[in-house]
C-alpha cells in the first residue's frame, strides 16, 4: 500500500492530518526539492496577497512595494522555525534531523497556501458584506495548518502529545532568541564598520594636512 508518487505526498498529508506524517516517515517519501518548492510558494503567495487581492479586501499600502518584509515573514521565519525546532529537539530527545524537520514543516503549510490562493481569487469576486466566506476559509485553513504543524513535530521527533506542546512552545522562544542574536550581530558589525570608517577618515585627515 501507499504507492503514491512523491509529488502527491503533500496533498495526501493535507487530507490525512492525523496519520499522514507517520506514513511519510515510515515510507521515507519526503523530498527536499518539494519542500523548497512549497516554501518558495509561500513567498510567492505572500507577494500575491499584497498585489493581487481585490481592492475591497486589500488593506495594504500599494503605493510602495517592498519585498523584504514578505521575505522575512515567510522564508526567514520558516528557516528560524526549522533550526529553532532542531535545537529544541536535540535537548528533548527528538529523533528529527534538520532535513526531516524542514520537509515535515514545509509539507504542513500546504493547506495554508491553497486557502490563501482561494482567498486571493475570491477577494476579486466578493463584496464587502460577503466577507463571511473568506473568513470561514481562513479559519478552516488556520485550524488545519496548526493541526498539521503539531502532528509534523510529533511525527518527526516521535514525541508524546505533552512533549510536542512543550517543544513547540520552546521553539517559539528559540525563534525569538535567534532573531535577537541576528539583530545583535548586525548592530555589532555595524559598530565595527563605523569604527573602521572613523579610523579611515581620521587617518585621511592626518595625511592630507
Amino acid at each position: 500500500m501507499m504507492d503514491i508518487p512523491k509529488y502527491k505526498w503533500p496533498l495526501h498529508i493535507a487530507t490525512h492530518p492525523f496519520e499522514g506524517f507517520e506514513d511519510l516517515r515510515w515510507k521515507k517519501a519526503g523530498s527536499m526539492k518539494i519542500a523548497w518548492l512549497i516554501i518558495a510558494l509561500t513567498f510567492i503567495v505572500g507577494v500575491a496577497q499584497r498585489t493581487l487581492t481585490g481592492f475591497i479586501y486589500n488593506t495594504s499600502y500599494v503605493k510602495v512595494f517592498n519585498v523584504v518584509p514578505i521575505l522575512i515573514s515567510t522564508i526567514v521565519l520558516f528557516l528560524c522555525w526549522v533550526f529553532g525546532n532542531w535545537a529544541v529537539g536535540t535537548f528533548l530527545d527528538g529523533e528529527g534531523t534538520v532535513k526531516n524537520i524542514f520537509i515535515f514543516s514545509a509539507y504542513a503549510l500546504v493547506p495554508k497556501i491553497i486557502a490563501d490562493i482561494v482567498i486571493i481569487i475570491l477577494s476579486n469576486f466578493l463584496l464587502h458584506n460577503e466577507a463571511m466566506f473568506i473568513n470561514i476559509i481562513y479559519y478552516i485553513s488556520m485550524i488545519l495548518t496548526i493541526t498539521l504543524i503539531f502532528n509534523a513535530i510529533r511525527a518527526v521527533h516521535q514525541y508524546t502529545i505533552p512533549r510536542t506542546i512543550a517543544a513547540i512552545f520552546l521553539t517559539l522562544v528559540a525563534i525569538l532568541i535567534i532573531l535577537f542574536l541576528i539583530v545583535l550581530l548586525i548592530t555589532l558589525f555595524q559598530q565595527v564598520y563605523v569604527f573602521a570608517l572613523t579610523i579611515y577618515t581620521e587617518l585621511g585627515y592626518r595625511f592630507n594636512v
Partner: protein
C-alpha cells in the same frame, strides 16, 4: 547662412519671453503664502489647489471709529449679518457690518434697576435673531443677556446646585442660545460639558438644568493602569493619584437646525474632537470606533525639528452646512462638508497676509471666511477661488443627491486638480446612477471602499446576467467532462489490472 542668426534671435526672444513669464507667474504665486493640500486614500497629504485665498486684513484702528482691538477673543456673525467682536482687554463689544465698517460698540450696560455696569475681560458672545446679546463676562463670573440697546434682562451666575462642583470658579468663556432659549455656557475648567440654563424674563429667574454633551474619558494606557490600581489601593491612596477627567469643550457653534457643534482642544484625545450634538446630547458624528472621523491633520507631523498635532480651538457652521475649524497648532483653517469630508485647508503660521499668530475665531458669510487673530488684533478675510466655487457647487448638488447634475462641476474640479479625491466619489456616484458600473468602479477604486463595493455588486450581477448561458454551459461541460474522464481512467486502470493479473496467470 542667414537662417542661423534668425533662429538665434528667435531662441533668445523665446528665452526672454520664458523668463518674463516666469517672473510674472512667480509674483502671481507669491500672492498665496500657503499651499493647499488634501488627504488621499492612504492618509498621505497631497498638494491641492487653494479653495480660499486671502483678500485683505484689517486691524481695529484701521476701521474708522472702532479704535484698536486688544486681544479680541471672539468673533460672532449674527443673523442680521453683523459682526460682533469681543474686544476682551478693552472690555467692550464692537459691532461691524458685513463689509467690516464700524457700526457701534458697547462699553456699559444698564442693569434692571437702572444702574450701569461694565464688562471684565469678556471672552464670548452670542446674538440671537432679535438682536439680543448674551455675553460671557469671564472675570465677572457671569453671563449677561441684554437687548440691542444694552439693557440687561437676565444674568446667569454660578449654579448653586450641587451638580456643579462648588469648589470650581465660574468663568464663562463661550455662550450659545438655541431657539427655545436654552442657554449653553462653557466655563473654564469645567469638564462635565456645557452648563445648561433656562430662564424666565418676567420673574427674572434662571434655572440650572445640568450639563450638556459631556466628553468621555479616552481609554489610554494611563487610564487603564489607574483602573487596575483602583482595585488594589485604598480610597485615600486613590484620591492622592491624578484623576482622569474628560477634556473640556473649547468652543461651540449652533447651526440653523439647532444642532450644537463642539470642539475639544486636546492632543491626546483622538475621537470626538468635533462633535455634532443633537438636542439629547448624543453625538451624531460618531461611527462607534469603526473608521472614525478625523479632524485636522492626520496623526503627528514632524517638520523642522518640531512635532505638530492638531489642536482644534474653534468651529463655525455656515448656513450652507460647511464646517470651518481652526487648528491652533498649525494655525490653519480646515473646511469640511456637512458629512465631514475635508474640502480645503488654508492659512498657516506667520506674519504675512493670510497667515496667523494666534487665530481664535472663524466665521463665514457667503463666499468669504473671516478669521480673528488675537495676537495680531485683526480680522483676515478670505475669498473663495474659482476652484472653491466649483467644489462647493458640486458638493452641494452631491449632498442633495443630484449626482447627475454634479458631474459637470466635478469634472471641472478634476481638470483643475486631478488629486481631488472627493471628485472621484462624486463622479462615481453619478456613473452609478447612469448604470455605468464598470466606469464607476474605476472612479471609486482607491477613493471609496463602500462605493466600490456597491458598484461592483451591480457590475457582477450584470456580467452574470449577460453571460448566463455561457456560464451554465461551461459548468455543464466541465461536469460531463469530469464524469467522462473519471470513467475513462477507471476503465484504463481496470484494463491495466486485468493485464497484470493476466500476465501473472500465464
Amino acid at each position: 547662412m542667414i537662417t542661423v542668426p534668425i533662429i538665434k534671435r528667435a531662441i533668445s526672444l523665446f528665452c526672454v519671453a520664458v523668463i518674463f513669464a516666469g517672473i510674472v507667474m512667480q509674483t502671481a504665486l507669491a500672492y498665496e503664502p500657503y499651499d493647499g493640500y488634501n488627504y488621499d486614500w492612504w492618509g498621505d497629504p497631497v498638494p491641492s489647489q487653494n479653495g480660499y485665498v486671502p483678500e485683505f486684513q484689517v486691524r481695529g484702528d484701521q476701521i474708522a471709529g472702532a479704535g484698536s482691538f486688544s486681544e479680541p477673543n471672539d468673533l460672532f456673525l449674527s443673523s442680521k449679518n453683523e459682526f460682533y467682536v469681543v474686544d476682551t482687554k478693552n472690555n467692550r463689544i464692537v459691532v461691524l457690518d458685513k463689509d467690516l465698517n464700524f457700526l457701534r460698540d458697547y462699553r456699559t450696560f444698564i442693569n434692571k434697576d437702572g444702574s450701569e455696569t461694565t464688562l471684565n475681560e469678556p471672552k464670548g458672545i452670542y446674538v440671537d435673531e432679535n438682536g439680543n446679546m448674551y455675553i460671557a463676562d469671564t472675570l465677572n463670573e457671569r453671563v449677561i443677556g441684554c437687548d440691542s440697546t444694552g439693557n440687561i434682562f437676565i444674568t446667569f451666575m454660578k449654579p448653586t446646585n450641587e451638580v456643579y462642583p462648588q469648589a470650581n470658579a465660574f468663568n464663562p468663556v463661550k455662550v450659545l442660545v438655541d431657539k427655545s432659549e436654552n442657554v449653553f455656557i462653557l466655563a473654564q475648567g469645567v469638564t462635565m460639558g456645557a452648563v445648561m440654563y433656562t430662564f424666565d424674563r418676567e420673574s427674572d429667574t434662571t434655572d440650572f438644568k445640568g450639563f450638556y454633551g459631556t466628553n468621555r474619558v479616552q481609554a489610554t494606557a494611563a487610564v487603564i493602569a489607574n483602573k487596575f490600581w483602583s482595585m488594589i489601593l485604598t480610597r485615600e491612596q486613590m484620591m492622592a493619584r491624578t484623576r482622569a477627567v474628560p477634556a473640556e469643550f473649547e468652543n461651540f457653534d449652533i447651526d440653523s437646525d439647532g444642532f450644537i457643534y463642539t470642539v475639544t482642544r486636546s492632543q491626546t484625545q483622538t475621537t470626538g474632537i468635533l462633535k455634532k450634538l443633537n438636542p439629547a446630547g448624543y453625538n451624531i458624528f460618531d461611527k462607534a470606533g469603526y473608521d472614525d472621523y478625523y479632524f485636522g491633520d492626520w496623526g503627528e507631523l514632524w517638520y523642522n525639528g518640531k512635532t505638530y498635532k492638531s489642536e482644534i480651538i474653534d468651529v463655525d457652521v455656515a448656513d450652507n452646512g460647511l464646517i470651518n475649524i481652526i487648528d491652533y497648532e498649525t494655525k490653519r483653517v480646515f473646511q469640511y462638508s456637512e458629512e465631514c469630508d475635508l474640502l480645503f485647508v488654508f492659512g498657516g503660521a506667520g506674519n504675512q497676509l493670510g497667515l496667523f499668530t494666534y487665530p481664535v475665531a472663524v466665521e463665514s458669510l457667503d463666499q468669504r471666511v473671516y478669521v480673528l487673530d488675537m495676537r495680531k488684533n485683526n480680522i483676515t478675510v478670505f475669498k473663495r477661488t474659482t476652484f472653491g466655487e466649483y467644489v462647493h457647487t458640486a458638493v452641494d448638488l452631491f449632498q442633495k443627491g443630484r449626482y447627475d447634475e454634479a458631474i459637470e462641476p466635478w469634472e471641472e474640479v478634476l481638470r483643475r486638480d486631478g488629486n481631488y479625491w472627493f471628485a472621484y466619489i462624486g463622479i462615481g456616484n453619478a456613473l452609478m446612477n447612469k448604470g455605468e458600473f464598470k466606469e464607476a468602479m474605476e472612479y471609486f477604486k482607491f477613493n471609496h471602499r463602500r462605493g466600490y463595493s456597491r458598484a461592483f455588486k451591480e457590475y457582477r450581477a450584470q456580467v452574470l446576467k449577460d453571460n448566463f448561458e455561457l456560464i451554465i454551459g461551461g459548468i455543464v461541460v466541465i461536469w460531463i467532462g469530469s464524469l467522462v474522464l473519471v470513467k475513462y481512467r477507471k476503465k484504463k486502470k481496470l484494463a491495466r489490472n486485468a493485464d497484470r493479473s493476466g500476465g501473472n496467470k500465464s
